[in-house]
């Protein structure tokens, strides 16, 4: 379920902030079958947005090929210690989750 918070690490070095995100999500492909042979319905994150304060720094669209408990790392210019980095996602069932972390 969407209950588990994301793990977000953001660190600034020489004016560049590196963000690493670990999301807790099944990322079911819709191609697997359960023990009775029924197809397990697809359940995966479709969209993700990362913001630095209120500015969008990364938009992502995922397909089913992204691994279970997705990991994402990216870098953007700017950002200062203590600034907020917010990551939110939406899955194909319409569930959403937003978490934030301070830049270290």
């Amino acid at each position: 379920m969407a209950a588990n918070p994301m793990k977000i690490r953001a660190s600034n070095k020489d004016g560049v902030t590196e963000v690493k995100v670990l999301i807790s999500h099944e990322m079911e492909t819709g191609q697997r079958k359960d023990a009775s042979g029924a197809i397990v319905p697809a359940w995966f994150i479709t969209e993700l947005t990362a913001k630095h304060n209120d500015r969008v720094v990364l938009g992502a669209e995922f397909g089913t090929a992204v691994s279970k408990n997705p990991y994402l790392a990216f870098r953007f210019k700017g950002g200062a210690k203590g600034d907020k980095v917010t990551v939110s996602w939406k899955d194909n069932k319409g569930e959403t989750r937003t978490d934030e972390a301070a830049i270290a």
Binding site: Q31, T46, G59, E61, G63, T64, P70, Y71, A73, F74
Partner: protein, 155 residues
């Protein structure tokens, strides 16, 4: 769509027919999502995916790099990254040629975000992995073959 609905109602076996429609791919759970590029993610082949992304025929470029292992022992978790030294990169995508749907993920990069993204993907089998990068109005790409010893798609 209206006609289909009538047929469903008339036949009196709505659930069964809905099941058929769903399995035929006419109704999919992702349909309600507006922004998500469904055409691109549903496309099976590389060519169809590139078309759906509006990329046409990207130019091979050595300024684009796919990072990842040469051999992935576990296809369910393959670390893959895309980096590029091209200017004005606004979009990047990871495509896996031999997966059921080639497109794994696409990224939109606003100004100030570096063309350097890493993630983890699933790979069904040994395949070429493509990085697609949009720089200015042009599309560029690079390839890397990643060998998979254990597939990541249920198996």
């Amino acid at each position: 769509m209206n006609n289909q609905r009538r047929t469903v109602l008339k036949s009196g076996s709505g659930a069964a027919l809905l099941g058929i429609l769903a399995s035929a791919g006419i109704i999919t759970p992702g349909m309600a999502l507006a922004e998500w590029n469904k055409a691109a993610f549903d496309a099976k082949s590389m060519a169809d995916t590139l078309k759906a992304l509006g990329a046409g025929t990207p130019t091979e470029s050595k300024d684009v790099q796919v990072t990842g292992p040469d051999i992935a022992e576990n296809g369910a978790v393959v670390p893959v990254g895309v980096t590029s030294t091209l200017p004005n990169v606004t979009m990047m995508a990871i495509l896996i040629e031999k997966n059921p749907n080639a497109l794994a993920a696409s990224f939109t990069l606003p100004e100030g975000t570096e063309a350097n993204v890493q993630t983890r993907v699933k790979m069904g089998q040994t395949s070429n992995v493509y990085a697609l990068v949009k720089s200015g109005d042009k599309f560029f790409m690079a390839t890397k073959e990643i060998k998979v010893t254990l597939g990541g798609c249920g198996g």
